[in-house]
């Protein structure tokens, strides 16, 4: 399974006075099993891009290939695309609606037309995968859970559809530090267990540096740079010019005068110890 986006363009309100190019010649590739971070400031076109990958928006021109299937071609069934690509929107807890957690998580799989046993099994698996206990939450109303738990349930609702690509739009926005950590751990855990592609949009550079294999930087609808976290975060000037930042730890080590790009705590400790010894 891999994703290939070629010269993707999207123009809102084409032909109207309010016409606006949201994406311009976006091209990148994602290899099988990669955890990809997409960064860009608010309004840079990230959300528009994600909705294309899921078939919710139609490209003005260009193509998207997911696992060898060109989903931008007319006639490709939406059900087929959504089986392959699962999209978790920003603040997904606002889309919960069922009377209890188990039913809410089952909504997606049920729409895929699976058998009851299959649905039940997937629901149990998805709830466990997001770090909740099936027996204790299954009969509770999703509205009485805590913020972090609500979000976990909403993510489980998409995971239960077993998409081969999982896309999350700012999954940690507005959460407290513990819930933030839980969701992040959950994402890496899902990635480790399924080995599928995960695409993560975040404003938290630290998170991206920590868990991503590849980083795509977007600014005003264009891909600015693509590379490993090390490659991307060594271009501090470029990131700042598009309204982004370095991870705090990288910034800190830069301020100490460490020349290399440092992305995690252990590395930083080692470098600082070296610095003191000198």
């Amino acid at each position: 399974m891999s994703i290939k986006v070629t010269k993707l363009n999207h123009i809102y309100d084409k032909g109207m006075p309010t016409e606006q190019a949201a994406l311009t010649d976006v091209s990148f590739e994602i290899n099988d099993g990669e955890l990809v971070g997409i960064i860009g400031h608010t309004g840079s076109g990230k959300s528009t891009l994600l909705q294309h990958l899921n078939g919710l928006l139609k490209a003005t021109s260009g193509s998207i290939e997911v696992g060898g299937v060109e989903i931008t071609r007319p006639g490709v069934s939406m059900v087929e695309i959504r089986k392959r690509v699962g999209l978790v929107f920003q603040y997904p807890e606002y889309q919960l609606f069922e009377v209890n957690v188990a039913k809410d998580v089952a909504y997606g799989p049920r729409n895929l037309g699976l058998s009851e046993e299959e649905i039940d099994q997937r629901v149990r698996e998805a709830i466990a995968l997001v770090g909740l206990d099936y027996e204790t939450v299954k009969d509770r109303s999703p509205f009485e859970l805590s913020g972090g738990q609500k979000r976990a349930v909403a993510i489980a609702g998409v995971i239960a559809m077993r998409p081969e690509v999982l896309i999350l739009d700012e999954p940690t926005a507005g959460l407290d530090p513990k819930a933030h950590k839980d969701i992040l751990n959950m994402i890496t855990e899902v990635h480790r267990r399924t080995g599928n592609i995960i695409i993560l949009v975040s404003h938290n550079m630290g998170d991206i540096a920590e868990i991503a294999d590849k980083v795509i930087v977007i600014d005003s609808g264009k891909v600015v740079t693509v590379g490993s976290p090390l490659e991307v975060f060594s271009q501090g000037e470029l990131l700042k010019s598009v309204g982004l930042d370095l991870p705090p730890i990288t910034e800190f080590c830069n301020a100490l005068g460490i020349k290399d790009t440092v992305l995690d705590m252990e590395d930083a400790v080692g470098k600082i110890v070296d610095l003191i010894k000198e």
């Binding site: 909705q51 899921n54 919710l56 939406m78 059900v79 959504r82 699962g86 999209l87 978790v88 929107f89 997904p92 606002y94 889309q95 919960l96 609606f97 909504y107 997606g108 729409n111 895929l112 509205f143 609702g157 998409v158 559809m161």
Partner: protein
């Protein structure tokens, strides 16, 4: 898709009609409606239509835009026309089994249809040429004398303002929720009526929850800024009647006089 819905139907322009005081426009609309009911012959309707045509021309609102607003009421128009044409008794012109068409029936049906069309276009001119917010301001000011009788004119105007303000917000919210449920495989476009209605539950429940959340946040924000209703409240945009508003009043009075005289004469 859902963003294409135009509600409130304000047509932005900078015409004389747009610049009139909202109170003048509200009174003019009410008068126009009353006049339509005073009129009892076709000459009177011709005068009303002519006045309306002048107002439309001055307002610079395209006729096609106004006609689009007529579409949803076409059914009612047709229904009343059919009722009148078959129900009114008089000189029978044509009959089939229990259906009779009479001369009087045709006359009244046409009469009512013209009255309805003028009524709808006339009142839609008010919303087309007045910003929703100045409209509610105008209503508040016009109703304010009733405050003596404990009538909550400010509160009602504020409710209308808030409702209007949140139409786009809620549309956006609906769009977002629909997309999220579509990503979970929801299908809003196929199936029979019952299936489609059922498919909307996953949209409506979160939408209601959102609406309550937004309302609560707004109430909190208003209280944080010491909002406590209309008493002693001053406003940023004071409404003042200008020369053009008085001229409009004079023209309205002249129009009313003509209509009354015309109705007496014929």
């Amino acid at each position: 898709m859902i963003r294409d819905i135009t509600l409130g139907q304000y047509y932005a322009s900078d015409s004389l009609i747009h610049r009139l005081d909202p109170r003048v426009k509200i009174i003019a609309t009410l008068l126009f409606i009353i006049e339509l009911f005073i009129v009892d012959n076709f000459i009177g309707f011709a005068i009303c239509a002519a006045v309306l045509a002048i107002v439309i021309a001055v307002s610079k609102v395209p006729l096609s835009f106004i006609m689009r607003g007529l579409k949803p009421v076409l059914f009612i128009l047709f229904f009343t026309f059919a009722l009148n044409i078959f129900m009114v008794k008089g000189e029978v012109l044509w009959s089939w089994k229990f259906l009779h068409i009479t001369r009087e029936g045709i006359q009244i049906a046409v009469f009512m249809a013209i009255r309805l069309v003028l009524l709808i276009i006339g009142s839609s001119m008010l919303t087309l040429a007045t910003k929703p917010l100045s409209l509610t301001d105008g209503i508040e000011r016009l109703l304010s004398p009733l405050a003596k009788f404990k009538f909550p004119s400010h509160e009602i105007a504020m409710m209308m303002t808030i409702a209007l303000r949140f139409i786009p917000t809620l549309l956006e919210e609906t769009d977002k929720i629909m997309k999220a449920q579509q990503a979970r495989g929801a299908d809003f476009e196929s199936g029979g009526l019952l299936k489609r209605a059922k498919a909307l539950i996953p949209v409506l429940v979160p939408l209601f929850v959102s609406a309550f959340r937004i309302a609560q946040d707004l109430a909190m924000a208003m209280e944080a800024r010491c909002y406590r209703g209309g008493e002693n409240r001053t406003r940023m945009h004071e409404m003042k009647l200008r020369k053009r508003d008085f001229i409009a009043f004079i023209l309205m009075a002249a129009f009313l006089a003509i209509i009354i005289i015309e109705a007496r004469m014929f």
